[in-house]
């Protein structure tokens, strides 16, 4: 706000304005692919939500659409997972990662048309894959259900995105490699390794490994997609938007370094905790449990770093939509990771494994953390790419409260319900010969499954608010002159860095 006299007379002479002009040019160069990825992500989010509601209702009312074969629970559940993972989450990851990479490397995206092509390929691949799942061609391998005929399309799309992100990084003007870029580079490298190993050693019939080694490949892949793709991209976004919106640097560089490398080493091994007590070697289960527990290190280090950055600025949560979503996500990253470390203990897994607790944990990580951070990122990125503001602060507010409360209600209901289910299944009530009847356990879990549907309705309301605001924003006319960012309320003494 303290413009010098020169700058006020000639904006071009101000170094600040020159920097803004550069950022503006970079943002503009990402416009077409960012819009394509974000638009299709939002569409998949809605489709995935519909699948989710159908699956959730079927859980307590199995006659609902009971005679429709292509919507039978086992198919619609897989369709939900793939729509929200490969449709929503990966599309939005691509948009956010590419935009962040361009800004942080200080490089315009060249030949953005290739990225638009990649977006088209990716969405064709996901569409073919989900249609295949509904038609009965699912592989029934969790997180890898997309049938083999759709995989090459996805692979081409990913190769283009990965190559373009690296080119953008390589030819940028920035001298410094910011912490967000470590995470982005790592994620961009890890994902193709994970995906191709999983395809070769698990999905393709000719080259698949045998017996329960398949299960090890399965959970090495599935957990690492979370840990080595979605988590790094979510953290990259937090590391960027937290200081950006607050207008101050990340608290500690050294904590960032420690957090990054401990995540890289420990998360890799954590996936085996999905097989605790199963027919795989005990040593590898133990290694998985140890790694899962060691995840406490990167999680706490990152949490402390973010918290100390936020210290003194919590009032900004009242104003900035981006900050509110991102901070909500960051807090839930800490919570869900600590719960995950706890859940990997053998004694805890004996009760909680195979129950709704797992479902709660999955949604806590992928929704309350990752998806919320991505919403925050979208609220920041789109106005800069489109040069328009969000039309309605009320809709953003509705979006936040519906998804925040909805996702926490779901996580809470399924955590309590899952633990109750697990205790009912495993406590012998003093009589080792007579565990509780399975149907009795099921009957007592039903109320929690109904709560999941109610919380799902709340989340759906949030998604509709988001979709309306997004469509409205894209369709509205651009106003001439300068505009103000859309905030929840006016911030008298806070400058929102642009």
């Amino acid at each position: 706000m303290s413009a010098t006299l020169t700058a006020s007379l000639s904006p071009v002479a101000s170094p600040d304005m020159a920097k803004r002009a550069e950022l503006s040019a970079i943002d503009a160069s990402t416009k077409a692919p960012t819009l394509y990825f974000l638009g299709s992500a939002a569409l998949w989010l809605l489709i995935g939500t519909v699948f989710a509601l159908i699956a959730s209702f079927k859980m307590h009312s199995p006659e609902f659409l009971g005679n429709v074969e292509w919507l039978t629970f086992g198919r619609v559940r897989a369709a939900h997972l793939n729509a929200v993972i490969y449709g929503w989450s990966v599309n939005v990851s691509f948009a956010v990662a590419l935009w962040l990479m361009a800004r942080l490397a200080r490089a315009e995206v060249r030949h953005a048309g290739m990225l638009t092509l990649a977006a088209a390929f990716w969405n064709i691949g996901v569409t073919v894959g989900i249609a295949g799942i509904l038609a009965g061609d699912s592989t029934s391998i969790e997180w890898l259900e997309i049938p083999t005929y759709a995989t090459p399309i996805l692979f081409v799309a990913y190769a283009l995105v990965g190559a373009w992100a690296l080119i953008t990084f390589r030819f940028g003007r920035a001298k410094h490699i910011y912490v967000s870029q470590w995470y982005l580079l790592a994620a961009l490298f890890w994902f193709p390794w994970l995906y191709s190993v999983a395809q070769v050693m698990l999905v393709f019939p000719g080259t698949a490994t045998y017996g329960t080694v398949q299960s090890l490949v399965n959970w090495w892949f599935a957990h690492n997609v979370l840990g080595l793709w979605f988590t790094p991209i979510g953290l990259a976004a937090i590391y960027y938007f937290l200081p950006k919106v607050l207008g101050k640097p990340i608290h500690s560089y050294y904590l960032s370094v420690l957090g990054f490398w401990s995540l890289a080493i420990f998360y890799n091994w954590a996936g085996v905790h999905h097989l605790i007590g199963g027919p795989v070697p005990v040593w590898v289960q133990t290694a998985g449990i140890a790694a899962s527990f060691m995840m406490v290190v990167p999680v706490l280090v990152t949490a402390i770093n973010h918290h100390l950055t936020m210290m003194g600025s919590f009032r900004a949560l009242k104003y900035s939509p981006t900050l509110r979503f991102v901070v909500f996500g960051a807090v839930n990253y800490t919570l869900t990771s600590l719960i995950g470390s706890l859940a990997s203990m053998r004694s805890f897994a004996e009760i909680a494994h195979f129950t709704q607790h797992t479902v709660a944990h999955a949604h806590h990580g992928l929704y309350s953390f990752f998806t919320m951070v991505m919403f925050g990122a979208v609220y920041y990125i789109l106005p800069r790419v489109l040069l328009k503001e969000w039309p309605s602060a009320k809709l953003i507010s509705l979006h936040f409260w519906a998804t925040a409360l909805g996702s926490l209600a779901m996580v809470l209901a399924l955590t309590v319900g899952g633990l109750e289910q697990g205790v009912n299944m495993h406590l012998l009530h003093g009589d080792p010969a007579a565990p509780k009847n399975f149907l009795e356990v099921m009957a007592e879990t039903l109320k929690w499954l109904e709560w999941r549907s109610y919380s799902g309705i709340l989340i759906t309301i949030g998604h509709i608010a988001f979709a309306i605001n997004l469509t409205w924003m894209i369709c509205q006319r651009r106003t001439a002159g300068t505009t103000q960012p859309t905030l929840f309320r006016n911030a008298p003494d806070m400058e929102i860095a642009r």
């Binding site: 086992g74 490699i177 017996g211 329960t212 027919p279 012998l428």
Partner: protein, 240 residues
Amino acid sequence: MNRAPLIFLGIFFAIAFSWTGIILTNHLSYAKLQPVYDEGEGKAFPEALPGNAQRGAEVYRDLGCVYCHTQQVRHPGYGTDIERGWGERGSVARDYIHEKRVYLGTMRTGPDLRNVGARFAGEGGRNWHIQHFYNPAEISKITLGNKTYGSIMPPYRFLFETRPIIGEPSPHAVQHLLPEKDQPPAGHEIVLTQRGEDLIAYLLSLKDPPLYPEEAKRVYVPKAEEPAKADAEAQPEAAK
């Protein structure tokens, strides 16, 4: 951390480490487990599934049964699988060597199916599956207090076909197993589709043999006669 090559090396080794440890090591050490020949029985175990059951496994895949049913029995002392009658022993890696795709599963919305062929066998088992697939909530139900709760397994009526009787009624017609409300119109009969037949054949075939000699040396199995002694000696770290 401003040196891209160093960052890249670290990233590379992090994933190479877990890939080598979790996947490559185990692939080399036990992916090629072999069946064990039993001289008393004159055949090797585990046995490969018969052809119709293998087709049934494809139906199991296509309908996504794995999302609600596990196929792994936990070892005695960990969970209550044995007490529930889901198997006589915990599952071991050798049980799965013939399976084109392994359906261990991660969720028990429904019961474990690893030995469902032992619980529901023969003609009676087949009839039970037919009735259950048609009306799960009416075949599996429980009354608690004054409310009755039916199974939440979805109905699989699309595995059946209602068709007009042409000439002789089919000997495979199944409507006599179904309740009054599900009877077909006059002149029609209900038969299982081929996929339904295959799926039931698969479920009837799911049953693991007694423990193999090699695993019997290493995996904890309680001895019925002397449980206290078995607890003391034959339980290293594996069962806890």
